[in-house]
Symmetry: C2
């Protein structure tokens, strides 16, 4: 998703360029036995672009599943969109280790409470930039860097300090080994943030306070991509602080105990009686320093760094074990790293006592029964595949996710569009909490009040808000571009959200609502121009806006299409693909159009920054294309689905730092890989149907919470055997090109015979139903 | 105090200019019987400058003593420093009525939740300026405007709407009478604020939510002079809302129920079945909309507007009755308006349930026993006279004030410098919570923990922070200008604060601390240049910084003097005046220097914006001069104190909109008047001594909480009898030129015989002791 403001070019060189990359395989832990699934996770995948390509914008640091803490190195002092995770594999220096990071976003945010071990005299009151070594940053080499789930290690070569990081849900744990006889020092930077020129970012206020020789606490309030984030911390050190400098902008205080300001840094000197490593434990909270302390004290009671590493490894092993696969080591590396990436967020927002700062800046408290509060909902991305995957792997967390979204509704009046540290940032378009909630409700997931959820999705679909002018929607039956920019994309996406509302209305017996939202779900037809064969924009007079160029890109406003072109958005009718097929003239015309889509190389003007990972007009680097390869199934040519899905799996994912064709987008690119490599994908993410692509792996077993297992087997003689020859479900011949959620959760085995040539399997005229539950 | 950035000139024309003003006497309530003291309060005093002068920057709106709510008209859309209260008597239009205002500050702030009754079609999505009538503002005339304590009324001539306002501690109450058969409408503006070009002011986020036809709630987070203010509101209407428009920047929604954004306005249409007035009740809170509702429901239970007006009048009557005076109507008007102005702040910060948002942005809750939380501490101003006056009139609130300050210390590490809506803004210099706390402690006021208070004042005096680099202070024995700008002013003021610390240390038996802080309290001597006879700046090498010009002004940084010149700051040794007298060569040289001060008209370069109300170099418009007229007493010429105090009382205060010679500064200018007109002033605001000036009133009775009364009588034949001929205390001849706090609280009568010629009373060699308790 979005990469605002700055433009890059020639992203379609990605595939070629990745071939030139040094593989990262050598970098991950050699001492980590391959008997564990965590040993296949390579946190460096997606951490660095090549040439002008995008990377996944992932970070390599330490985190536990869905944690609040992502303790990871920052290779820029002021990360921008191209280093949105804080870390760029191409960078040569590290500025420190901050405790919060986003995985795969197109906007940089978080980077809270940066610590950096140093020695010697270090200037901390100067502006430091990536290009200068005037600050405290250190060069580092990937040769002396290692990461696996819940653990990161690097040698900071400027100081010859070995830095190791691990994490629990609410706390980070640092182990810094200094050279002998060097005074251990640690820089604390509370002004470290995304580039201050972006999103009007600035520190509103912050504090560093030394509680005793072993303890500091503080906070910062920052405005940026999230309108306001309150971040409190509480840190314990294994050695006493014997001196300090505190800096507030241009003012330096020596051996002070507290400093308040909006440009705070400190350098802490530690006793060096022996050469044991300096250990630092840091708890965070959105509520108070007191809660940060409680979080820390609850989760890391002693000073056993290795135990916290082992605990993190174990919790990751448990998460990853939810899908057991067989395949090549490369496949396992990409697969489990993808599963890892999809499981690092949404992030825990509530403290161990259930308190959190709500979207309206009040303190809220959840009982144990009410569950946990989560945030980091990159919904325009993650509703497509990540959330459907969570319904299989994280049914209990899914209810917490949904209850968290409903709490935004309670305070804000509508459900999240993109929620970050509890704050709505309105990134992208649509209201894709709705498919997430409806999907879970229709699948019968427990733990949330479906009637209340329905009220929330209906109200969110009737209350006009930014990029969702429902009054305009109902008046015109489409979004007129002169009244609402990005009108075609919004029309298509809201029509889909409306279909979702209708389905839940139907289930709850709300016939009037069902009719109303079903009618709205068909508004997409009002922008179909049968002359051009594309969805096009109209003005409020009902006239097509000319000239129309289906190759021309829009970004995030000012054009009818969002981060894409008319070709890419043509396919966005996931709830009514069969009608879409008919609209263009039936199966043949539809597959012809798909063929064109995957082969036309034409470009008009500049690409959007997010468009990358091209196959013709298909751009795997951004989400609007993600379901398109699966659409051949709807028109009797499943072998072409198999061809393109296989091509994407093998060519647009790899195990280098540029392992993704575009931003991972909080695990969405990863979720596509996890599901597609198993063999299916939710073209409509809320209808309980997974459309079959091509099983990429020898086998995959989904271990369900119920104790049941759903196994996908693919008999292949060679990697070229990408085409399904036949299939069976639980031993019975299976000719449908989709399976349902119920098929999966009931447990069983789906077995494919594969071959190197397209077969007639699944090509008989058939309709994939609009509703699989 | 401060008027940043914008410069005005020729402020010394004030006295002349005020003579040209239309007196406001005619404007205040004629139907308000003079039997009540509230009838003497004229809230229009201080609300408007003349020519290039300053006004008091007071507001005329409705408030109750020390309340959270100041419901008052705003005559600018984006008030700046010269309309810091929101209202300028010279302005011709009103933009609406917002619920929070500052009285007399030099920076504009607050202006929360603006409501404006309108009729007809009004554009609310355009930027409105004072100069254009494109917005919703209305012209008004002072002929159709009225105010008395707790009540304000104006006719909005554009609409012919009569608007009336009243208030309780936490809630505002509006009564809008619309013309017959006109659709009642109300504009709600959440983006109304100080000028957005000042203090990086912007709305971080805000919300308007319609709860039901009679109820709205919402909030705004704003960054400005206060780093972050959370302001929640809850509003009830007496008529149903029948339609609305909500505007977020350039987007308008019709009949929506919620809007979130950073540029929010709404226009609400109300039913008009009969022509009864529209009543609106609004509760505020720093914690939550829920608390705003609780505040409102607790304080205004029904729709009886007149009863709330009467209640407000009664609570004011009770406050004003604490000093009963006899004198001319003009004297009473100025006196009771001054007493009113000194009693509108500090402002209540905690909600009725004891909750408030603390300085560290956490929610804190006070038990009933812990009292109330207050904010709006303009301490550089108010420690001089307002707080000493509060120790007499508000002993119980004083302990709440102090506990409120101590809670800043708990979270922030040091006591308030200038606290606004719970936020430290570091305005001005020194740490003048210290004299406030020490004064109360030495006077034996109850309700706070003196040991804890001592810890707070000591720590605040040892912890370097903005403009208080105590490490530098202790190293050099003065503030070197090259290390800390405003060095002379800061040296003088911190030396005084240190004296205060020493006194409390002494009382608590902390001898080492007493010695340490006593030593620091004499650091002022290190900047006395006996060659020039002035306090001058040195650099860190100990060299005088040349050239030196005692007439040259500094502002708030970049020069050794703060909002003043060396002449004005020469007198700032309130804890050691007797030594100061000796330093310049004894009584004669000292009184000669005072004579020069009050007569020298020379000016070098530009004046500071705050310097106004001149008598020679004396500038009554700003606080550094405030004690100087009383210093003649220390050198045996009390008749000159009597002369200048009388001159200031009569010439630099009046009952026009320009009734003050400068900003009222949260009641400090008023407190000077209240005390000086009674007859004395606390030259050292923490030593329990009030230095006698000249009684301006026929009599004044201070009604103490204990039930005792202290009465000051002045037998005068004519207004020219400004000179004390003789005095008696409780019937005994009294020749000292000061009285003590204990004299007052023990009750009694201080009686003066006055005459038109200077007498020898009080001129015998005597020392006013440095400590009166």
């Amino acid at each position: 998703m979005t990469l605002p403001m700055i433009k890059t070019y020639m992203k379609y060189l990605l595939i070629l360029a990745t071939l030139l990359m040094v593989p990262l395989g050598a970098l991950y832990s050699q001492d980590h036995t391959k008997s564990k699934l965590t040993s296949y996770v390579n946190p460096f995948i997606g951490t660095g672009a090549v040439a002008a390509s995008l990377s996944g914008n992932n970070y390599p640091g330490a985190t536990v599943p869905f944690g609040m803490i992502q303790l990871s190195p920052d290779t820029r002092n002021a990360p921008d969109w191209a280093q949105a995770s804080g870390y760029d594999y191409n960078d040569k220096s590290i500025f420190g280790f901050s405790h919060t990071h986003l995985s795969g976003t197109g906007v940089a945010e978080f980077f809270d409470v940066l610590l950096m071990p140093v020695t010697g005299d270090i200037a901390i009151n100067k502006d430091v930039t990536s290009d200068s070594m005037e600050g405290w940053q250190s060069a580092f080499s990937h040769d002396n860097e290692k990461a696996h789930p819940g653990y990161y290690q690097v040698n900071l070569s400027r100081y010859n300090i070995n830095a190791e990081l691990t994490a629990t849900t609410h706390a980070g744990f640092h182990r810094y080994t200094f050279p002998k006889n060097q005074q251990p020092r640690v820089v604390l930077d509370l002004n470290h943030s995304l580039n201050k020129n972006s999103w009007s970012t600035r520190i509103i206020n912050s504090q560093i306070k030394i509680i005793d020789q072993y303890t500091i606490e503080g906070y910062r309030l920052i405005t940026g991509w999230a309108k306001l984030r309150k971040v409190y911390f509480y840190a314990k050190f294994s050695k006493p602080i014997v001196g300090n400098k505190m800096v507030d902008g241009n003012t330096t205080y020596s051996n002070n105990w507290v400093v308040n300001g909006s440009d705070l840094r400190a350098i802490l000197d530690f006793e060096n009686k022996n050469n044991s490593p300096l250990l630092i434990k840091v708890g965070l909270s959105s509520v108070s320093s007191q809660n940060a302390k409680l979080n820390l004290d609850t989760e890391i009671r002693d000073w056993n760094f290795n135990k916290v590493v082992a605990d993190a490894d174990n919790v990751w092993e448990k998460e990853l074990s939810k899908i057991k696969i067989e395949g090549t080591d490369l496949q396992k590396e990409i697969f489990y790293t993808s599963l890892y990436h999809v499981s690092v967020q949404p992030n825990t927002m509530s403290d161990v006592n259930g308190e959190y700062t709500d979207i309206d800046y009040t303190k809220r408290s959840l009982s144990e029964k009410e569950g946990k509060q989560y945030s980091t909902f990159s919904l325009w991305d993650t509703y497509r595949a990540a959330h459907p995957l969570y319904t299989l792997l994280q049914p209990e967390r899914t209810s917490d996710f949904i209850n968290s979204m409903l709490r935004q509704y309670d305070a804000y009046g509508y459900l999240p569009i993109w929620q970050l540290w509890g704050q709505e940032n309105y990134c992208m378009i649509g209201n894709h909490s709705i498919p997430v909630i409806v999907d879970a409700a229709l699948k019968g997931l427990k733990g949330f009040d479906v009637e209340r959820a329905y009220e929330a999705i209906k109200t969110s679909s009737m209350t006009p808000h930014l990029n969702s002018p429902f009054d305009v929607w109902e008046k015109y039956g489409y979004m007129p571009e002169n009244l609402q920019s990005q009108s075609v994309s919004i029309t298509l996406e809201i029509a889909y959200d409306d279909w979702c509302v209708a389905q839940l209305a139907k289930k709850l017996g709300k016939e009037e609502d069902y009719n109303h939202f079903t009618k709205r779900s068909l508004f997409y037809k009002n922008l179909y121009n049968s002359q051009s064969g594309f969805f096009q924009s109209k003005n409020d007079k009902g006239n097509w806006i000319e000239p129309f160029d289906p190759f021309k890109y829009g970004s995030n406003g000012g054009y009818p299409f969002t981060e894409g072109n008319a070709w890419q958005y043509f396919w966005y009718v996931p709830h009514d693909v069969n009608t879409l097929v008919k609209m263009v003239g039936g199966d043949k015309a539809f597959t012809k159009k798909l063929d064109d889509f995957f082969t036309l190389e034409h470009q008009s003007g500049e690409l959007n920054d997010n468009a990358s990972g091209f196959i013709g007009q298909y751009a795997h680097g951004n989400e609007p294309s993600h379901h398109v390869a699966y659409l051949y199934n709807y028109a009797g040519q499943p072998w072409k689905t198999q061809y393109y899905v296989s091509k994407i799996l093998t060519e647009l994912y790899n195990n280098t730092s540029a392992g993704y064709a575009g931003n991972d987008d909080c695990g969405e690119m990863s979720a596509w890989y996890v599901l597609s490599s198993i063999g299916f994908y939710p073209v409509n993410p809320a209808n309980g149907i997974f459309v079959i692509g091509t099983p990429h792996l020898e086998s995959a077993s989904i271990e369900l919470l119920s104790g049941k297992t759903f196994k996908i087997l693919a008999q292949k003689q060679s990697p070229k055997d990408i085409y399904i020859q036949s299939a069976s479900l639980n031993g019975k011949k299976y000719d449908q090109t989709y399976i349902t959620y119920n098929d999966i959760v009931n447990g069983g085995t789906l077995e494919f015979k594969m071959g190197s040539k397209p077969s007639k399997w699944g090509s008989k005229p058939q309709n994939i139903p609009p509703d699989g539950i």
